[in-house]
C-alpha cells in the first residue's frame, strides 16, 4: 500500500516504528498534491519548504522520544479560515488575499503539539459561506470522485484533499454543515464536535455562536484521534467549555447492542434522493443487525431550522466581517476619495457575491424595527429546536439520517439558485443551532459512483456515542476507498 493510501493512524504507527520518517510522509503528501491539485484545487497555499522543515524537526523529536503520540509525523491540512502564524490565511477571499496572521489558532497549535506536520491551507467557500466551494476567490475545488462535480462546502478543499490522498487528514470548520456535507460528497469521515469543545481562538468567525472546528479524515478512528488532539478547554475562548473528558478513542468499540437509534421521519420526506434514502436505511439496518434498537420518530420543527439558521448566521456574519475594511490588513481599493469611499470600494471589490448577500441579509435582520421580527424570533426558534432535540435524546442515544439530500451536484448548478442551495443544508443545520455533535461517514455510492454520507447526531457532549455507532457501522461496511481507488 502507498503511504498516502494509509489512514493517519496507520501512517503514524509506521513512522513510530521507523519504517518511514515524517519527512518521507510529508514528501509523499506534497508529491500527491503536485500530481493532482492542479486539477482539483484543494489547496490555496501549499507550504512546501516550511512543511519539510517542520517535518524534519518533528522527526528529530520522534527519534529523541519527545514526541510519542499516535499522530506524530502525520501530514495534515488546515482549512484557510484557521489562523496560522506567518502563513497566508485568506478565507478564500480577495479581501484577505495577502493576510498573514501574527499568531496561530489554538487548534493549529494543538496539531503542532501532537507532532503533526501542516502541509498547507485548504480551499473553501469564501468566509465559509456556501455549500460547494465554488464561492472561493481562488476558483472552485473539484470533487476527486468526478471532477465535473463539486466537493460540497464550505470545507470542500479539506474533504477533497483527504479523499484524493493529498493529505492524511485535515481540519475543517462547521457552521451549518460545512464539515459533514462535503464529507458526505467526498466519501470521507468528518465530525462536528459539541459547541465549545474545540477552541475557536484563531478561527476567523462566520457565525460565532455556531462555528466549530472539527476533524476530517479517512475513517472514524482518525477522526477520534484528531479530535483528541485538538479538543481542549481554552481560556482565550470564553465559549470554550471545560469538559469532563477529552477521551474520544475509548469509544472506538465494535458494539451497538442495546443502543437506541432514532430515525426522524421528517428527514425522509420530499427532496431526498431515493438512492441516498436507500443507502442510509441500509446503514440503519446494518446497525440493527448488530443489536441496536432502531425506530422512527417525529423530530418536528425541521422546516424552521433553515430560516432560523440563515437569520442568525447572517446577523453574526454581518458584524464579524465588519473588520475587513481596508484599514488594517488585507485588500484596500487602489483609488478612493476619503474614508467612506475607501470602505465602500474596498468591501465592494474585496467580497464576493454570496458574502455580500449574507452581510446585507444580516444587516437587515438586525436593523431597528426588524430586530424583534427576525433576529429575536430566530433565537426563539433556535431554543425550540434545542428542546425538540432534548426530547428526542430522552429516548435515543443517537439520531441517524442522511447528511445531504443528494450526492454532489455538478459544478455551476447550485449558485444560480441560492435558496435551493440553502435548502440543501436541511439535515446538518439543526446540529449547529442546538450545539450538538454530528459525524458523517460514507455508506455507499450512487449509480453515478458518487459517495453517499450517513449522519449520526448525538446529544451535547455525547461524541462517544456517535463515534461508537459510527465505528461499529464502519466495521460492517469495511474500508471505504479513496477516490479513484479500487474497492
Amino acid at each position: 500500500m502507498e503511504w498516502m493510501e494509509m489512514t493517519a493512524a496507520e501512517l503514524g504507527k509506521k513512522i513510530r516504528a521507523g519504517e518511514l520518517t515524517a519527512v518521507d510522509a510529508a514528501k509523499a503528501a506534497l508529491e500527491k498534491i503536485k500530481e493532482k491539485d492542479e486539477e482539483l484545487n484543494c489547496f490555496v497555499t501549499v507550504d512546501e519548504e516550511d512543511a519539510l522543515a517542520r517535518a524534519a524537526r518533528v522527526q528529530e523529536k520522534i527519534e529523541s522520544g519527545e514526541l510519542t503520540g499516535p499522530l506524530a509525523g502525520v501530514p495534515v491540512a488546515v482549512k484557510d479560515n484557521i489562523c496560522t502564524e506567518g502563513v497566508l490565511t485568506t478565507c478564500s477571499s480577495k479581501i484577505l488575499y495577502n493576510f498573514k496572521p501574527t499568531y496561530s489558532a489554538e487548534a493549529a497549535l494543538r496539531l503542532e503539539q501532537a507532532g503533526m506536520v501542516m502541509i498547507g491551507k485548504t480551499n473553501m467557500d469564501e468566509f465559509a459561506m456556501g455549500s460547494t466551494t465554488e464561492t472561493s476567490f481562488f476558483g472552485p475545488t473539484r470533487n476527486p470522485w468526478n471532477t465535473e462535480h463539486v466537493p460540497g462546502g464550505s470545507s470542500g478543499g479539506s474533504c477533497a484533499a483527504v479523499a484524493a490522498g493529498e493529505c492524511s487528514c485535515a481540519l475543517g470548520s462547521d457552521t451549518g454543515g460545512s464539515i459533514r456535507q462535503p464529507s458526505s460528497f467526498c466519501g470521507v469521515t468528518g465530525l462536528k464536535p459539541t459547541y465549545g469543545t474545540v477552541s475557536r481562538y484563531g478561527l476567523i468567525a462566520y457565525g460565532s455562536s455556531l462555528d466549530q472546528i472539527g476533524p476530517i479524515a479517512r475513517d472514524v478512528t482518525d477522526c477520534a484521534l484528531l479530535l483528541e488532539a485538538i479538543a481542549s478547554h481554552d481560556k482565550k475562548d470564553s465559549t470554550s467549555i471545560a469538559r469532563e473528558s477529552y477521551d474520544f478513542t475509548s469509544a472506538l468499540k465494535d458494539d451497538v447492542k442495546g443502543m437506541r437509534i432514532g430515525i426522524p421521519r421528517d428527514y425522509f420526506g420530499d427532496g431526498l434522493d431515493p438512492e441516498v434514502a436507500a443507502a442510509v436505511r441500509g446503514a440503519a439496518e446494518a446497525l440493527k443487525d448488530r443489536g441496536a434498537v432502531v425506530e422512527e420518530f417525529d423530530l418536528s420543527l425541521v422546516d424552521y431550522a433553515i430560516p432560523a439558521y440563515y437569520v442568525i448566521a447572517s446577523a453574526e456574519a454581518s458584524s464579524n466581517l465588519a473588520r475587513f475594511d481596508g484599514v488594517k490588513y488585507g485588500y484596500r481599493a487602489e483609488e478612493y476619495e476619503g474614508l467612506h469611499n475607501m470602505y465602500k470600494k474596498s468591501r465592494s471589490e474585496g467580497f464576493g457575491e454570496e458574502v455580500k448577500r449574507r452581510i446585507m441579509l444580516g444587516s437587515f435582520v438586525l436593523s431597528s424595527g426588524y430586530y424583534d421580527a427576525y433576529y429575536l424570533k430566530a433565537l426563539r426558534t433556535k431554543a425550540l429546536i434545542r428542546q425538540a432535540f432534548d426530547r428526542a435524546f430522552e429516548k435515543y442515544d443517537v439520531i441517524l439520517g442522511p447528511a445531504a439530500p443528494t450526492t454532489a451536484p455538478k459544478l455551476g448548478e447550485s449558485l444560480s439558485d441560492p435558496l435551493k442551495m440553502y435548502l440543501g443544508d436541511i439535515y446538518t443545520i439543526s446540529a449547529n443551532l442546538a450545539g450538538l455533535p454530528g459525524i458523517c461517514l460514507p455508506c455507499g455510492t450512487d449509480s453515478q459512483g458518487l459517495p453517499i454520507g450517513l449522519q449520526l447526531l448525538g446529544d451535547c457532549f455525547q461524541e462517544n456515542k456517535i463515534i461508537q455507532a459510527a465505528y461499529t457501522y464502519e466495521c460492517v461496511r469495511g474500508r471505504f476507498p479513496l477516490a479513484g481507488q479500487q474497492q
Binding site: S209, S318, Y329, Y371
Partner: protein, 476 residues
Amino acid sequence: MSKQYETVIGLEVHVELATKTKIFCSCSTEFGGAPNTHTCPVCTGMPGSLPVLNKKVVEYAMAVGLATNCQITRHCKFDRKNYFYPDNPQNYQISQLYAPICRNGYVEIETENGSKKIGIHEIHMEEDAGKLIHDEWEDCSLVDYNRSGVPLIEIVSEPDMRSAEEVIAYLDKLRLIIQYLGASDCKLQEGSMRADVNLSVREVGAKEFGTRTEMKNLNSFKAIGRAIEGERARQIELLEEGKQVIQETRRWDDNKEASHAMRSKEDAQDYRYFPEPDLVPVDISEEWIEEVRSRQPELRTEKLIRYKEEFDIPEYDAKILTSSKQMADLFEAATALCGKPKKVSNWLMVETMRLLKENGQEPEDLKFSPEHLAKLVELADAGTINSTVAKEVFEHIFYEDIDPEAYVEEKGLKTVNDEGALRETIERVIAANPQSVADYKGGKEKALGFLVGQTMKEMKGKANPAMVNQILKELL
C-alpha cells in the same frame, strides 16, 4: 422674555476604569507609551481573535453601582454596537444595551437650595476606542490602538437636574465616589472622565419635556457650566422666536463659548445592537455582591463625620480635606505618622491650597509623601526649626518631595538655641541701633519688634524667636 423657563438636564458620564489591563485582553492600560505598543490581536481586531472579560472591570462597575444605590443585574450580558470608524478596529464596540450591570440608582447632591436626589438610570460596561491622529504634513490619518479596549463604564442619569450648579454638584459627587473607590482617577482634562450633557427647556409648570440636544466635548467643570448656560439661552431664544429646537448632537467650543451641530437625529446611525456571541453572560451571585460590598472603602460622607468626631476638625476644613481622595489619603497617612491631625490639616488647608492655586493645580496633582509632611510637623513642633523656616522647607516638600530632616541638616536651617551665640548677636544689634533702644525705653513697644527683626536677620532666620525676645528684654 415674558415666559419663565426651566432647564432639564440629564448626563451621560464615561469613566475610564483604573484596571491594570484592558477589558478583553491582557494588554496594559497605561497612558502614554509609543503608538501601538500596548496592543495584541484582540484589541487590534485581528481576524480570529476573541475577547475574554476582565473580572476586575465587573467588580469596579459593581462597586460604583453599590455606592450609587443601584440594583445589580444578576445575569448581565454584553452586546455589540455596530458602526464603522477606524479608531474601532472591529468596527463594532462591545458594550451593554439589553442587560446593563447596574440599574435604578441615585446619588444625593447638595446645593444652595439644599439636598436633592439625582436618579441613575443605568451603568454599563464597554470598551474604549483607539485614537486617530491626522498627519497634516503627509495628509493621512494614523491610528493608535493603545487606548483600544481600555475599560469604561457609562453612567446614565435620569433627566433630574435643573441647573448648571446641580450638574456640577452631581459630577463632583460621582467623581468623589469613584475616586474614593479607587475605580478611576476621574480627570476631565485627561479624558478619564467625560460628560455629555442632554439638555432641554420647557415652560415652568409644563408636564412634557422639550426637545433635547446632546452636547459633547466638555473638558472641564467650567466648560460644562458655560455650555449649559449657552445651550439654555440658545434654546430659549429659538422658542421665543417661535422656532423649534432640533434634536441633534452638538459640539461645544469652549474658546468661542459657542456650540455647533454635529449630527441630527435623522443622521443618527442604526447601531444594529445584538447580543455579543463571543462572550458568555456574567452571572453575579449574592456572595460576589457581598464580597464587593464588604471591600467598599469609606466614602466621603462617612469620612466627613469621622474627621469631625475623631480629629475634632471643623466642618469647613473637613470638607476641603475630603474634597479629593488624594488629599484625604495624605491627611490620614500623615496624621497616623505624627499624631497631630490639626497641624497636618493646617499645612494642607493653608500652604498646600495656596501653592495648588498658585500653580493652577488640582489636589489630584499632589505628589509629596505623607512621611515628609509628618516629619515637617514634628520638626516644627519640637522647635527644631521655626515657622518661617518651616514654610520654606514645605515649599521644597511640595515641589520636590524632599526629606525635611535631611534638608534642614544639609542647609543648616536648625533653629539656634545656643544662648551664648544669641547674646553676642543681640549685644551687637543693641550697640548698632541706639535710637531704637532709646525709643523702646521711652515706651515704644514697636521698637522691640524692630530689634527682634534685626536679630533674626543677623541669624539668617534661624534663631529661636522666643529666646530672642527674652534675651532682648533682659539686656534692655
